[in-house]
Symmetry: none
Amino acid sequence: MARLIDEGKIQRIKLATIQLVVQNGYGGASISSIAKRAGVAEGYLYRFYSSKQELVTELLYSQVARIVGKLESLLNTCTSTREVMTQLIGELFRMGTETPEEIRFIYVLMHDYNFQVSDLQRQHIKGLIDKVISIGIANGELNSRISAEEAYGMVIIYPIEFINLRMKGFFGIKEWTTEEQNRVAEFSINALK
Amino acid sequence: MARLIDEGKIQRIKLATIQLVVQNGYGGASISSIAKRAGVAEGYLYRFYSSKQELVTELLYSQVARIVGKLESLLNTCTSTREVMTQLIGELFRMGTETPEEIRFIYVLMHDYNFQVSDLQRQHIKGLIDKVISIGIANGELNSRISAEEAYGMVIIYPIEFINLRMKGFFGIKEWTTEEQNRVAEFSINALK
Amino acid sequence: MARLIDEGKIQRIKLATIQLVVQNGYGGASISSIAKRAGVAEGYLYRFYSSKQELVTELLYSQVARIVGKLESLLNTCTSTREVMTQLIGELFRMGTETPEEIRFIYVLMHDYNFQVSDLQRQHIKGLIDKVISIGIANGELNSRISAEEAYGMVIIYPIEFINLRMKGFFGIKEWTTEEQNRVAEFSINALK
Amino acid sequence: MARLIDEGKIQRIKLATIQLVVQNGYGGASISSIAKRAGVAEGYLYRFYSSKQELVTELLYSQVARIVGKLESLLNTCTSTREVMTQLIGELFRMGTETPEEIRFIYVLMHDYNFQVSDLQRQHIKGLIDKVISIGIANGELNSRISAEEAYGMVIIYPIEFINLRMKGFFGIKEWTTEEQNRVAEFSINALK
DNA sequence: AATGAATGAGTATTCATTCAT
DNA sequence: GATGAATGAATACTCATTCAT
């Protein structure tokens, strides 16, 4: 009977990759350092990913999917844009607190032209953002002429940028309060009014 | 009596570097590819820059300085935050139209941990943002509790992100109208109200 | 389960390095030429040595250690300076016959400012030379005012220089007889009388 | 009327080359650093020397010639080997005191296989050494079976090695007294008795 | 199945040399 | 004559990938 694939190893590979990409950038995260940190052989990675690029792409995909999934579930339960955005931004800040490496990972790669989000994922995001907008318009919360791009920038990009600015300590401080978190949501909503 | 330094070559090196960093990221822009595209010998770069890192850092510095300089001059002539932001965002869009690679260059490197803006430049930016805020508060345009980080995110980061989202065609469209440009300014101002 | 490290390859790297340093000096012995001669990939060297400098240093260390070790063991068994020196010089000539590249390797690097013998090794040599001297004085073979430096020059340096002069054919001849070998010992002993 | 060649520049090139080769080795003495230190343009060197190799070779030649010339003149004035050797070693130590870089220069290059003394110079040296020997034998100072090589090693090589050992501080001390200098001569003479 | 030995194309950088001025 | 701008082959070193075990 064939041994089962050791999920622990795969998890360790994923974790090590995220940590090392965040710490040293894509170029600085070598397969050998990833394998060493994950406690697996270098060659082992290639059983699951055909290249370093694929490994990182897949991880980026699943990290983005996590946020997208959250937005999707919020759209099923919330009745106002304000609620959606407050919750979503809350989730982003929670990620920043609990698994800072994961949000940093997205942050580091989202401007790298080698790592575009897949077309499918983009379509999906577009659909969800459209939903956010139509709820907002229906509720009179949003300016009826808001575009998906504008909303996406405010609802997703701005919060991620803000959190990372803070985590980097660009203006000196590295922590945040619940109040500040709520202000970010407030800004986004105000912006799109 | 020796040849004069060919300024054209230096310009071509700068241009090639910006283009290739934009296309392939810092890691993907090799000295050999830069030299080839600039039509100079590989070693020639090192007459002006002591390393690849210095070359890119210097280019980033001057691109950032361009935007910072614009903000600075606006603060000397404008009397309201609205005016400052409208003009600044206008400038960013102008860059996006006229020299799209340059704004992309900033966009690509601003998330790269190898390329932090220098402390001096950061201090400078902080000072200017503080000025924007105090004008806004004095004029009753801005919420009096706005932090520098929040303002920076809205005034600088959001517009850059928006322009790049559009230039990438993330939501399908790659051009923009003056009207859309003004809306971005409007969002920023609304956000910080 | 992975391949075993091929010790032959390491041996070939060592041999190739010694040969090429002897032929072309440290600067002229490029990693690429070493790898080619050893029949291994360029990168392979770096699995065992972190730099070219380390590779050569380590080889020099072990070659010097061989001679130093011989001297040390002679000091444990011989009862006169004459015996020590005759035997040591015999050993140096044996090296010159059997593994001429190795003694040439020492010869080439001992004047290279990049390759000082380690402090530890120097201390060790100093101690041994002191012992040679004290045996010689006790036996009435050596002038009691001989310094370590003077002895070192005669006991180690002069023979190495002589052998290499001969191997180079500086004065036309490249071979030597046992008689000549004994004369070298005789000179050294006479010098220090 | 053609300008005369500026001898000062050539002298400065020679000096700079010797200093930089001694300090950094042949490889570390770049044409650009030599030119800079000499205060001439890089290209200027190539008017007199067709390559870096030739420049250094020529300097080595003339440094060796200086010592050989001294030996030659001593052979015309001295009547005993003892006198020749005492004076010659005196000269070597004088070089070590007055122009240490020059004797170091010889020391550094004399083991470098890229810089063999020319055949002509070797022949010349051979002739002189033969003369030293025949004077010594005639005077009853030297063992009649001494070879040129043996004498060369003792008369030239050993003193150069000794001085450099001392200048390097291999055994801790870097200075020398006249007495020590005379002992070196004594050793050489004793050795060849 | 899993390892890690081995590869070699690729990297940034240096520097002796050439030659337009 | 003299300069120093410009070259490009060569250097030490890295690392994603392959594959024998």
